[in-house]
Amino acid sequence: MDNAIEVKKLSAWFGDHQVLREITMGIRRNSVTSVMGPSGCGKSTFIRCLNRMHDLTPGFRMTGEVLFDGRNVISEKVDPVFLRRKVGMVFQQPNPFPRMSVFANVAVGLRFNGKGKSKSEIVEVVERSLRMAALWDEVKDHLDQMGSSLSGGQQQRLCIARALAVEPEVLLMDEPCSALDPVSTSKIEDLIEDLSEKYTIVVVTHNMQQAARISDSVAFFLLGELVEMDKSAKMFTNPSDRRTEEYITGRFG
């Protein structure tokens, strides 16, 4: 299995303040990679670099390489719009589009992607995406209801369906369960496992047990640095770096 994304010496600054220090790592295709660490370690900043969400942040700077599809996607020459269609994102707070129905929410990416899909194709893709997000059965008779009328867990699955509808290769998830109750959380964790067969998934989490449950590989960040990255089993039972061990055993964070 090869790497879907290859990160080489990625550094980032907000103004003069450096937030990422020469991160180098590979993200395996069709697997679940967790990024964990204490608050402020740069994990959210990191995954937002992968789909260039920082482009709209004034004063933000990146150096290094993020190789995807053979190209360094953080170069100015690459159009971030195309990148984001291949690398999707699900946010910490579920953010379905207000005033739009469940159906419209999932279809939005298709409608505005300029790929000119026909109405029947859109209907097909919406159903398929909702099924993949394990939401179809719950909403299939209520596709017209407002996206915001769903429960928190359902809204997050709606956002996942929405991201899947544009057929990305990679799915970035920024603490997707931290705003949800335990039942919804476990549903989404199962979902992530299923999805990893077809998609490359990167999950930011501050919950170690979750990282242990769902991921194949784990990357541990501390103060903007990648401290250690390894298979999940090894990270939690026999980490190589002392700082990793201290974090895992709860000495800080």
Partner: protein
Amino acid sequence: MTSIAFRRKATDRIMKALFLLSAFLVILPLFLIFFDLLWKGAKELKWSLLTDLPRPVGEPGGGIANGILGTLTVTGLAMAGGIPLAVLTGIYLAEYGKGAFASVVRFAVDLLAGVPSIILGIFGYVLWVLPMKRFSAWAGASALAMIFIPIVVRTTEEMLKTVPVSVREGALALGIERWKTTLFITVRTAAAGIITGILLAMARILGETAPLLFTALGNQFWQTGLDQPIATIPLQVFSYAISPYDDWHGKAWAGAVVLILMVLVLSTVARLLTRTRK
């Protein structure tokens, strides 16, 4: 109770009564005005009021039909120009408005919002009436547009700013281009509020008289073209009110009833829009 405590309690009661009295006095004119409108205006409210043209004094019947059409015409014209200008400016200020240019634009809009409407009549006069050498609907509409635009720029910008960043981020993360995000996601989310702002501004310019006094001027007959003087209900109410004839005074009240109804219906529809959508 000691005398101090008694005094404090008494003062408290007196002040409460005074506050209640002021609220009462503030609301009282509203009831008086509506009562008078209904009482005096209802007498003249017949179908002929809405369908007839004005007739000379002494002749029975006569109405404000041309005023109704005229009001809709100049208001429509003002909005046709005003809506694109104002909404797009509001979008600019909300989405891209961080630099010096945007600050200057905001300042100008605030300035314009405070201009007495009679002065906007002068604007319309100098801009249109002088070169065209006649009064016209165009002149009136341009004066009204100058009232309409600052209101809608402000409400549009405000409404767009209430759309949370998470909505924009969600759209961008799907690979939707920035301009499409703004137009089809952000604006759409704020649409109800933006439309409310437009309707409220429309209700405001419907009732304006001063800027039309020497731009649209008024007309006894039907409109023959947009480059001709045009009647509007407020203008008719004004000329009937200051005339020396009693039956024309009655028509002034009737016209006022029609006018206030239009304003009320619009305002209510506007507010309902933002209330029902959740």
